[in-house]
Symmetry: C2
Subunit: 327 residues, 2 copies
């Protein structure tokens, strides 16, 4: 089954790509097996892509920006654009990211664009793993420009930075000081800052914001030696702005390649990927072991009664499991 | 060493409690051992506490609310108040939560109050684990009211809800629609909603917000059957408001106890705790095994060359480890 599906995916069939991504996201044992085969095949087909993370607080206009910037990349630069999301808030109800496809109307009807709403729930490590696998499938399907959207408050943007080549931070020029505390942590991660909604912002406020952000970036430790993140402005559906932003992304990618950082970062990300895969597998094998399941039930009673520390219980469970032969 | 430290902690020595928390947060092998002993002792001493999570977007005024509400609890209700934080954004630079102690000036000088800034970096599972252990130590030291602050965007509030009895959501009455998408997910988790900064909000806007939030909660699925989260207003340093909020918290706790939900939730949380402890231990033992380290190095080269899938590599590594005797 994976053979035929992968051939269709390679041939650029978007429905096949969507099915492959669904399989990779699934936890069903049959799907896990097929997913492994798909990933192995896709590893032989990765192309020259650029992976861009797009982060910012709620309301900054990430979806509309991606709609406008992505459409420009697809139509003016002939890029094959793929839009993904990292959105752990979709735990209980559906998340807000990419959920509202109406904000991406222009983008989602284009032929050379693949928009994929947020994957199923899970912990951040698991989400990163699924995102890496999805990126790989999209690249095998010929997509060369990967946009990964995430809400930038908390830990999501670290996960995003762990799967992209360039992290773009969207800010509102008039957001005020109360977000400053949050922004500092995220700003240290940014490779490029976009002042969004420039067209609906008072010129003097925009000018002040440009200076403030530039100053702030100047005083922050450099993420990459020799690169100070540029601050560019963006207005809705402005080709000029999209072009400026793409120029800055390209300059950054060139800079990274010239310094050897590009490949180093990708290699580090690949190592993180392997570690996440090992962690996931280790837990799956351990917790699905029938002996372990029984032992955990017995241990749980002791634990609820409070006679042993979680560490002692854990150590015994692991030691017992290790003594049993086979997997 | 743990013996003496724990005695001091039991006797209410705040410096001893602070040292114990530091040990629990540490990853140093010596500390991990002592931490295990401290936790085991603390498990025998947990008291009748109420654990309250306080969440809301940046700028909603969580720290000032905690300063005002916590001080009232400590002075008017004679509670021993402990303030903790779940803040995964402190990965690279220091986080913003509780970092600014000036916002908690009133609170932090009180004798029966223990304020603990955010613990060290880590994944959310690890942060939850450390928070649970810290809560346990604080309760052993006699603290009966635990306030856990977190930024509510993304996954943090799920982690917070996983360690508290009651999750309080702070909202700004005039925050506007653009946060609505985020709020829905968090609102489903709230047991109580506080409209903050009521004193500096126009009366008609406040009235409208009260109606809107009440309506929204009415249409959301109930988190606990029979409990619709009340919506209360809060102004800075208003004893009346603090008293109202405490009444609502107490009513909720009584409701939960009468339905058996209180103990069920705590038991579920304890089971999650055990699972996190097992996961952490399993990873630590596996990745620190010298054979595994060597095997991972060899496997990494194959992986970077792209000949094997991460799943295949992971399975082999785990199988090899399992075949070796002992831990």
């Amino acid at each position: 089954m994976s053979e035929e599906l992968f051939e269709q995916l390679l041939a650029g069939d978007r429905a096949a790509l969507a099915r492959a991504v669904t399989i990779v996201e699934s936890v069903h044992p049959d799907h896990v097996k097929i997913a492994g085969e798909l990933i192995k095949k896709a590893l032989q087909h990765n192309n020259e892509s650029v992976r861009i993370g797009i982060t910012g607080v709620p309301g900054v206009g990430k979806s509309t920006f991606i709609n406008s910037f992505g459409s420009w990349l697809a139509t003016e630069k002939n890029k094959k654009v793929c839009v993904l999301a990292i959105d752990p808030s979709s735990n209980r109800s559906h998340g807000s990211i990419l959920g509202d496809k109406t904000r991406m109307e222009k983008l989602s009807i284009l032929n050379n664009v693949f928009v994929r709403p947020t994957p199923a729930a899970g912990n951040l490590g698991g989400i990163a793993l699924k995102t890496r696998e999805t990126i790989l499938l999209c690249e095998a399907a010929g997509y060369d420009t990967i946009l990964v959207e995430t809400v930038g408050v908390g830990q999501n943007e670290y996960v995003a930075d762990g799967v992209v080549d360039c992290l773009m931070l969207l800010l509102l020029p008039n957001a005020g000081d109360e977000l400053q505390g949050i922004k500092r942590g995220i700003m240290e991660l940014a490779d490029l800052v976009v002042l969004n909604k420039a067209d609906v912002t008072d010129k003097s406020i925009l000018h002040q914001a440009q200076m403030d952000v530039t100053n702030a970036l100047y005083f922050l430790p450099n993420k990459f030696d020799g690169w100070t993140p540029p601050v560019v402005q963006n207005s809705l559906n402005s080709d000029k702005n999209s072009s400026d932003i793409w120029d800055q992304v390209s300059q950054f990618i060139d800079f990274q390649k010239s310094k050897g950082n590009f490949q180093t970062k990708r290699n580090n990300q690949k190592m993180e990927w392997l570690k996440e895969a090992i962690r996931t597998k280790l837990e799956a094998i351990f917790f699905n072991d029938p002996h372990v399941k029984t032992n955990i039930q017995t241990a749980s009673l002791k634990w609820l009664e409070g006679h042993e520390s979680p560490n002692e219980i854990a150590e015994k469970l692991i030691l017992n499991w290790k003594k049993e032969p086979g997997l």
